[in-house]
């Protein structure tokens, strides 16, 4: 049985002038110790999916089973108990730390809430701070506002790890960091995973980072998963035209590297009135009438790779 099973997750937001379908019909599973990455462009619903796993806020529909407990239908007490096994690192680490509180309080908060004694909590806080590469003696009494982005990221990781979760949702943990420190954080996450057998849901738009860290990848577009599969398969033989365009758009740090493939045309559609049928069809080089009429469902291509495209694997020329 998978550690995390997500089925038909959906979430809407009411905004001025309408409703945004931030997540529609998203399903995936994550096994123990495994890393699943969610990739896709800004606003495609990655964060919403990740946060729904933790119930902030709860999804509108769909089920989330963590370690066999259905978080959406279990009695609140059991759900809360089960939820402790899942922790999150937020997209903007700095804003996820209360700037007015000391690091030791921040990290200990989860423990205090779950009733761990002050003494025991302090020990564990020191331990975990050391584990993320911070010196408790130096940082414990300072406030979050005094730290750099990378350090804040570490504090956030410490706060999550102190709860000894079995799954960690990381929402763009390196996006706001300089390249020179990105690696430090990624290394830290990998170390944690190895050491504690942690499963990761890793959200990112940076495919290069995703490639180096994940086991499986789910590509999202306008609230839906359009492709999911083994990281190697996806990168070497992307099934969805969007995945392909994404991979082609990533600039190479090499002046001699020729640009690959044609650039996508068109603008990102507004999530408030997404195109009918396949949401990608407005920018898709191979869109046809069928794409407008019919929403493609995920179908398996082989080797666990699933794609939601009527014409997966066909080249743009065909």
């Amino acid at each position: 049985m998978a550690l995390l099973e997500v089925d038909n997750l959906a979430k809407q937001f009411k905004v001025a002038g309408g409703v945004v379908n931030a997540v529609r019909d998203v399903s995936f599973t994550v096994d123990e110790g495994q890393t699943l990455s969610l990739v896709g462009e800004s606003g495609c619903g990655k964060s919403t999916t990740g946060r729904a796993l933790l119930g902030i806020p709860d999804p509108d529909s769909g089920s989330i089973r963590l370690d066999g407990v259905d978080l959406t239908s279990a009695p609140p007490r059991d759900a809360a108990e089960a939820r402790r096994k899942a922790q999150m690192i937020f997209q903007d680490a700095r804003s996820s730390l209360n700037p007015r509180r000391r690091v030791k309080e921040l990290v200990a908060e989860g423990l205090v809430i779950s009733g761990v004694s002050r003494e025991a909590a302090r020990q564990r806080v020191d331990e975990v701070l050391r584990a993320v590469g911070l010196d408790p003696a130096q940082v414990a009494d300072r406030r979050a506002a005094e730290f750099s982005g990378g350090q804040c990221q570490r504090i956030a990781i410490a706060r999550a790890m102190v709860m000894r979760p079995s799954i960690l949702v990381c929402d763009e943990p390196v996006a706001s960091l300089d390249v020179s420190v990105q690696a430090q954080v990624v290394h830290l996450l990998e170390d944690m995973r190895r050491e504690y057998g942690l499963a990761l849901v890793f959200i990112s738009h940076d495919l290069a980072v995703v490639r180096s860290i994940s086991d499986r990848v789910a590509v999202m577009y306008l609230g839906r998963v359009v492709e999911i599969g083994e990281v190697g398969r996806i990168f070497s033989s992307p099934g969805h035209p969007y995945t392909r365009a994404l991979l082609d758009s990533i600039p190479m740090p090499d002046p001699r590297q020729p640009s690959r493939g044609a650039a996508l045309g068109g603008e990102l559609p507004s999530p408030m009135n997404p195109p009918s049928g396949c949401a990608f069809r407005t920018r898709c080089p191979m869109a046809r009438q069928r794409c407008a009429d019919e929403t493609p469902q995920l179908r398996t291509l082989g080797d666990g790779q699933q794609v939601a495209c009527h014409f997966a694997l066909e080249g743009p020329e065909s």
């Binding site: 939820r83 804003s95 996820s96 730390l97 509180r101 809430i113 706060r159």
Partner: protein, 291 residues
């Protein structure tokens, strides 16, 4: 009645301005702070340093001009020493200013936080409540409450506190609402924190800054309003020497002894100026470093 509630604009709309001119207004702020501290000291020691009893006539001198017969600031129409009344007046004016503000801040912050946290009908109810208070003619509230509670310092503090609750509620709510968007609230929730914990440990400390700087300004506002009420004859009953009532009674004698108005008016203006300056400074400092 002058102002109730110049509702401050949403807090910290300014994007992070990394300290344009950090030393701006330092001197004015220090002077203002100095004045406020001086007032506090004078209020505390009024009993020791005031040369005369503020409610008892000091000899036969009446409407004596400055520095006459040992009365540094002269005597009022009843023959009471103006300096002593001024000193004791600090207690009343500042007690009303600070007391009403404390009530307003406490109630306003609590209500504002609840509205920001629960939204939905709680927020709607808070909205209706604050609008109700705001759309009441303030004079009526003051007069009615004074009539019900017997006019005096406590009644005044209570009704001014009530009148100033809505602006604080709104200010707090808008500050807290912008905090609610931030992920540390979500983080606390995902760690299992309950409403009380989030409201008091997370929201409160992060929404309080604009409230603090505004409350300093409100102290000044309340002091002026107390003066206006005494002026209209509906403030604190005599013989309590509030600055407003001193100005009002000086106005009765403006033709005979125009100088009588100067000391309390000056005191009032300086104090209001000091509180305003301090409030401005705090706001600038907070918006400069609030990231």
């Amino acid at each position: 009645m002058t102002a109730v509630a110049e509702v401050p604009a949403a807090p910290e709309t300014e994007r992070s301005r990394p300290s344009p001119r950090p030393h701006r207004g330092r001197l004015a702020y220090r002077l203002a702070l100095g004045w406020i501290v001086l007032l506090a000291v004078l209020a505390a020691t009024a009993g020791l340093i005031a040369p005369f009893d503020p409610t008892a006539p000091a000899g036969p001198a009446r409407l004596a001009p400055f520095s006459d017969a040992g009365h540094l600031l002269g005597t009022d129409s009843i023959g009471r020493d103006v300096l002593s009344r001024l000193l004791y007046g600090i207690r009343i004016s500042v007690a009303v200013g600070v007391g009403a503000t404390l009530i307003a801040v406490t109630a306003g912050v609590l209500v504002g936080l609840l509205a920001a946290y629960y939204r939905g009908w709680v927020a709607a109810a808070v909205n209706v409540g604050t609008d109700t208070v705001l759309s009441f003619p303030p004079l009526l509230v003051l007069l009615a409450l004074a009539a019900v509670l017997n006019p005096g310092v406590p009644a005044l503090i209570l009704s001014l506190g009530l009148l100033f609750t809505p602006p604080f509620a709104r200010l707090t709510r808008s500050a807290a609402l912008s905090q609610m968007e931030l992920d540390y609230i979500a983080a606390a929730r995902s760690l299992g924190a309950g409403a009380g914990r989030i409201i008091f440990f997370e929201l409160l400390p992060n929404s309080i800054r604009p409230v603090i700087s505004y409350s300093v300004v409100v102290v000044a506002l309340v002091i002026v309003i107390e003066g206006s009420l005494s002026f209209l004859g509906v403030g604190i009953p005599p013989p309590a020497p509030s600055w407003g009532s001193m100005i009002a009674s000086a106005k009765d004698h403006i033709a005979l002894a125009p100088y009588l108005m100067a000391p309390p008016a000056l005191m009032l203006v300086l104090t209001v100026l000091a509180f305003n300056t301090a409030g401005d400074h705090l706001r600038n400092r907070f918006s400069g470093s609030a990231q």
